[in-house]
Subunit: 380 residues, 2 copies
């Protein structure tokens, strides 16, 4: 079986866009990806579309709007990890020699559907009793603070950093230059998490052209190899749960590292699922990029900043770009590609050779969720 | 790349089960499939779950109820073809050597969600103006009757045949021995389609264990090879649409035939998407199993009956089993396996060596839809 590459990427502006449909945003993203890959849209053989709440046959609707109906489309849902699953299924279908050129698409429109925190699934007992996402992550933040001496100021610094990264990202309308006081003075959502500790509601779409080695060689351009992919789900087991760690994240990472033949030390930078400031800490440590509890020092020393030794969320992450669920995972691949090609402009990480993307989604039970995906891309 | 096999199948009773959850039905189906495959549930490495309206992370919820959380689960949506896409993605992931043992799952609960015809997507302009599924298929029936001389009595005979097949299928609660008059005297839904020309609302789940050749050989049992798989979407183009044919069905079939190295003449029997009596005709002809217009004679002569030369929907199809969207495609594979192994009891087709399954789903625009899947299984 051959290697699999990302040949081109595109994304719509991530913003509150109440007047714009997923079809319009999807087409924006696909156009950029197709141009970037230097392919003719007619060459796309199959589409994998990740989304959560966009209704039946969302991928087909976007493709019809793009003007290329009649090709196989498969819609995927894994909550906040839906887009990453689109990347993963495109990867499998190219690897199994079924297709040479696939489009992985992620779309989501949240404005008009939700105001405030995203509604947990009605089936989720703990959530319906009040353990929504903000309150769950607030509990986890308290536990981490108690265990490792993390302060609210340090949490706030993550919000400041990620919004600054997004400020230099023209695909985000949420980036801004704020300071620690702005975060601490913002409205308290669920102690210790202020408004700026939470990611904003956003609409958006992202696209990636995933191809076989044969096509990558023929077309040229700047293909980046997908060297690792991991997917797992949370374990729903009774008993003690350590809220300062994510077993699920580590298991998905382990699969991806093993496939890539790489370890955490060889990852130069990562896009991780920072739905809250505390989440960036939990994921970075869960991925093994940082020892447990060490993120406190990292934040103080700026290790996770673009100029640091292990930049996290150079795109601005979910905190800085917002989080249109299905689009998020594909947008992470967009950032990995831009960084690895040296095309990230003012937020460029120097000498980045290997990047990792991490999303997780679904049920809020304990520290576990419905799905966690880790993808590793290697530079040219 | 190795061959891919279905090693075991299971399904819940298809019925109106308002008091039962998808978790309960899913577990019923998985238990039977696991027993049938003679594997330990712990051997399942990944799950693909097809469903349409069961909310976020449905597959994860079913697996947690089954007591095996922590393994990768991917949810797929392609309207009425969702379950078939679960089979297809399991097929790809085994073929690409990622996993050796996958579970393809389909679940859907419709009672309590819908009464009467399924609501078309809100985004579908024609449907919201009245071109719902019954009215679309009524138009197609009129056109076919006009072109090929089909009568209401002949349509009714399909309803009689499929409900009789289902009567001998203990997995269906809808099977019954009715006659042509019963159909013609049933309430008119949309002329020329009577109530019995339409499939009933149903709840249900189905499961299939999809494995690599290595596992099939090691475990033994009665593995059946997936020799062909095709997926396509409808073309949304302006201009004349021939409502008596399905280009989309033919394109999906063509892909599957090509992969299998088989033609329509080598297919011994088929499960096709008979959401309405007229639909069985359109699909059988669309698949090339029968020449265009020839189904009129087939019905008269009973060619499509279990004792005929080319049995269609021996399980009872959607008309006889009901149509729990996500579960339907996997339940078709259940029937193919039972028939090819000679385990279909009173509805057994003699000497069946190759079976085909066909689903289609999504938007009602013209004769095209959002997705069409064709799968071909070969006997031992």
């Amino acid at each position: 079986m051959g290697k699999v590459f990302v040949l081109g990427v595109g994304m719509s502006k991530f913003a509150k866009r109440p007047e714009v449909t997923i079809e319009t945003m999807g087409v924006e993203a696909i156009r950029e990806a197709v141009d970037d890959a230097q392919i003719d849209p007619k060459q796309i053989q199959a589409v994998y579309c990740g989304h959560t709440w966009q209704g039946m046959s969302a991928g087909q609707r976007v493709m019809a709007a793009f003007g290329f109906s009649g090709i196989p489309v498969t819609n995927l849902e894994n909550a906040c990890a839906s887009g990453s699953c689109a990347i993963r299924e495109a990867f499998f279908s190219v690897k199994s020699d079924r297709y040479d050129i696939c489009l992985a698409l992620g779309v989501e429109k949240l404005t008009g559907k939700f105001s405030g925190a995203i509604t947990p699934a009605v089936e989720d007992l703990e959530a319906s009793l009040g353990l929504t996402f903000p309150s769950l992550y607030a509990l986890r933040a308290h536990r981490y603070m108690e265990t490792y001496g993390l302060t609210s100021k340090q949490l706030a610094k993550i919000a400041v950093t990620n919004r600054k990264n997004a400020y230099y990202n023209n695909k985000s309308s949420f980036g801004q230059l704020i300071n620690i006081e702005d975060v601490l003075n913002s409205r308290m959502v669920c102690s210790p998490l202020h408004l700026y500790d939470c990611n904003p509601t956003s609409d958006g779409a992202a696209a990636a052209i995933v191809v076989s080695e044969k096509i990558a060689k023929r077309i040229g351009g700047k293909p980046l190899e997908i060297v690792g992919s991991g997917l797992t789900s949370g374990k729903f087991e009774p008993g003690f749960i350590d809220m300062t760690f994510e077993d699920m994240t580590w298991r998905a990472a382990e699969e991806a590292y093993k496939m890539a033949g790489l370890g955490p030390n060889e990852i130069d930078f990562a896009e991780v699922h920072d739905c809250f400031t505390i989440a960036e800490i939990l994921r970075t440590e869960g991925l093994g990029l940082c020892k447990r509890g060490e993120m406190v020092r990292w934040i103080e020393e700026g290790v996770n900043e673009i100029t640091g030794k292990k930049p996290i969320n150079p795109s601005g992450g979910l905190l800085g770009k917002g989080h249109p669920l299905g689009a998020t995972g594909v947008a992470q691949i967009y950032e990995l590609v831009r960084q690895l090609r040296g095309e990230a402009g003012q937020r460029q990480i120097k000498g980045a050779k290997v990047g990792l993307a991490h999303t997780r989604g679904g049920s809020v039970t304990g520290t576990e969720g419905g799905a966690c995906v880790v993808t590793i891309l290697k530079g040219p």
